[in-house]
């Protein structure tokens, strides 16, 4: 029995870092944190809005049990509010408006009435307060020595269908609280960041005679035409250095994956199967996963760029029509009911190419368009469920999903 137990322990230890294994019992042991407001400027509505944003961000970093009570105090009081005396940490912040109308926020992280972290933030406008809130949560997470949540500070770009053949492209923070419509009017879909710095992006314009890929430089507001193809033209992925694109084009009505060099404007046809090959995503610099129906149903395959050898990646499910890869992990969308006559369910699953484990990441509704964060810490996806379109974030290591609903329209595709 002892031998069996120790073998079991060894086995479980050997998989301790595998993200396909669910973390179940961690919530009870998390340290507690309360938030105290010491703001001077601004009305109560805005104070409450900022407080809610901070509490939400602290929840998403998943390393605290966050107290949701709103309490006010003086910024320089040595002791925390009596109600918070048993908390492991207290975050105290002070918002004030300076002469230029900029929003200034000072924070103190208190542990047993000692300041362990203090920092100041400033943004030009009050209505972009959520980025300060995300930055505070990011810094606290860094201070606690947890794996980076750099994706929190990144921007999400998505296309929203507002009527048939009418869409807009929107840039937002990861919670969709801040939204800026950057392309209005027309039928434009599949936006994709062109670089890590997020200062330019690609999108597909469907209004032209043939679908056309366009590039937008946000700073100079210049739009340039990249390439077009009859039938279909989508930028599926951009390499880390921004120099190679994986495109889905359909020369002669045949959807295939092409790799495209941004500098030389030359492209190579990567898949040649006479069916559907789409949705290519870089696994590494010279390897990609993609969706193909070469077995008679959509499934996930992988290949090296420039080579013709194709490897099947998923052996579960009869309809896996979208995927994203990060290192050894692949997240894919599986159809869990196949029915022309009633509601269908699509769930996201995670597999590791090194083990045989499959972890189901979602439970209800239509979950699609999964995308790994650049560091692989989180997965962003679109959820359509009960008349609501949302963007979801899965924290793999913490086994938690967060949903941020869209106020109107339907998310067609997105990138972060």
């Amino acid at each position: 029995m002892k031998l069996f137990l120790s073998l079991l322990m060894l086995w479980s230890l050997s998989y301790a870092e595998d993200a396909t294994i669910e973390v179940i019992k961690r919530v009870d042991s998390l340290p507690s944190i309360a938030v105290e407001d010491s703001s001077i400027s601004y009305d109560n509505t805005f104070k409450m809005r900022f407080f809610k944003s901070i509490v939400a961000d602290l929840n998403v970093i998943s390393i605290f049990n966050v107290d949701r009570h709103y309490r006010e105090t003086h910024f320089n009081d040595t002791n925390v509010i009596v109600n918070n005396k048993d908390m492991s940490y207290v975050l105290r912040y002070k918002m004030f408006e300076d002469d230029n109308g900029a929003l200034n926020v000072g924070i103190k992280l208190l542990k047993e009435n000692e300041t362990v972290l203090s920092k100041n933030y400033k943004v030009g406008r009050q209505d972009i307060y959520m980025f300060v809130s995300h930055a505070i949560a990011y810094d606290i997470n860094e201070f606690m020595g947890e794996p980076s949540v750099a994706w929190m500070k990144r921007k999400v770009i998505f296309s929203r269908i507002i009527a048939p053949k009418k869409s807009e492209i929107v840039i937002a923070d990861y919670t969709l609280t801040y939204q800026h419509t950057i392309i209005n009017g027309g039928f434009n879909v599949f936006p994709k960041w062109a670089s890590r710095a997020q200062n330019s992006f690609y999108y597909t314009a469907l209004d032209a005679k043939v679908p056309t890929l366009k590039h937008v430089d946000i700073k100079t507001a210049t739009v340039t035409t990249v390439i077009s193809s009859d039938g279909m033209m989508i930028c599926s992925d951009v390499s880390d250095d921004g120099k190679t694109l994986l495109l889905t084009m359909a020369k002669n009505g045949q959807p295939d994956v092409y790799s495209y060099k941004v500098d030389s404007k030359k492209y190579v046809r990567e898949t040649k199967y006479n069916g559907i090959d789409v949705n290519a995503q870089f696994m590494s610099k010279d390897r990609m996963v993609f969706i193909s129906n070469r077995l008679g149903y959509p499934n996930v395959f992988a290949k090296r760029l420039g080579s013709s050898e194709v490897e099947q990646m998923i052996y579960y499910g009869k309809s896996n029509s979208a995927c994203s890869a990060h290192g050894e992990y692949i997240v894919y969308k599986a159809r869990e009911s196949s029915n022309a006559f009633s509601t269908n369910t699509f769930n996201l699953h995670l597999i590791s190419t090194k083990t045989d484990f499959i972890r189901r990441l979602t439970a209800t509704g239509v979950n699609e368009f999964p995308r790994f964060s650049k560091d692989g810490d989180a997965i962003i996806f679109i959820k359509n469920y009960m008349a609501q379109s949302s963007i979801g974030i899965i924290r793999l290591k913490h086994n938690k999903n967060y949903l941020f609903p869209l106020k109107y329209g339907r998310v067609q595709s997105m990138d972060w």
Partner: protein, 180 residues
């Protein structure tokens, strides 16, 4: 004794069947919760009609073109399929005839569409394969391939947004549009 053994067996069977039926029951419940999904797209439907009618009335020059366009009827497809059914053959023949007579001065744009199940690239590709199937059929009936352009709109161009099988069937289609 025999009956005792038998009833024992029956009792164990009952216990086991009780156990094994637990999971599927839970599944069925979650499925039921999902059923009354989404009314969201409904609002969009009214806009479909208005946007289409506005296109038709917008230019006086294009009136004759849109009149010809009305003679070209959409081709419908089965769930997850892109082959042309026998009952759609008449529409193809009609399309080829119109394209080579009344519409011979125009190019034909085939717009592939899908039902709402998925906004990903695969759905767009399915719409395109449908458009391509119609293109091949038109070419086989004598339409010049260079006059036919294709585009896929995936699920983004529904003509119907109710949550019914009839509605989904109406969205799995290829529309004919004329280009000057």
């Amino acid at each position: 004794m025999k009956s005792l053994v038998l009833s024992g067996v029956v009792a164990t069977l009952l216990v086991f069947s009780g156990c094994s039926s637990k999971d599927p029951v839970v599944d069925a419940q979650t499925q039921e919760v999902e059923a009354p999904a989404a009314q969201e797209v409904k609002a969009v439907e009214t806009e479909t009609v208005s946007s289409e009618s506005s296109v038709i009335s917008s230019g006086t020059d294009s009136l004759s073109m849109s009149d010809i366009e009305k003679q070209l009827t959409s081709v419908y497809f089965d769930f997850d399929k892109f082959n042309i059914n026998a009952d759609m053959q008449d529409k193809i023949l009609n399309g080829a005839t119109v394209a080579n007579s009344a519409a011979s001065a125009y190019s034909v744009k085939l717009e592939g569409n899908c039902d709402e199940w998925g906004s990903d690239e695969y759905n767009f590709a399915l719409g395109l394969k449908r458009a391509n199937a119609v293109k091949k059929a038109l070419v086989a009936e004598g339409v010049d391939a260079s006059r036919v352009a294709m585009v896929s709109y995936g699920e983004s161009n529904p003509v119907c947004s109710d949550k019914t099988k009839d509605c989904w069937a109406q969205n799995r289609r290829v529309d004919f549009k004329l280009l000057p």
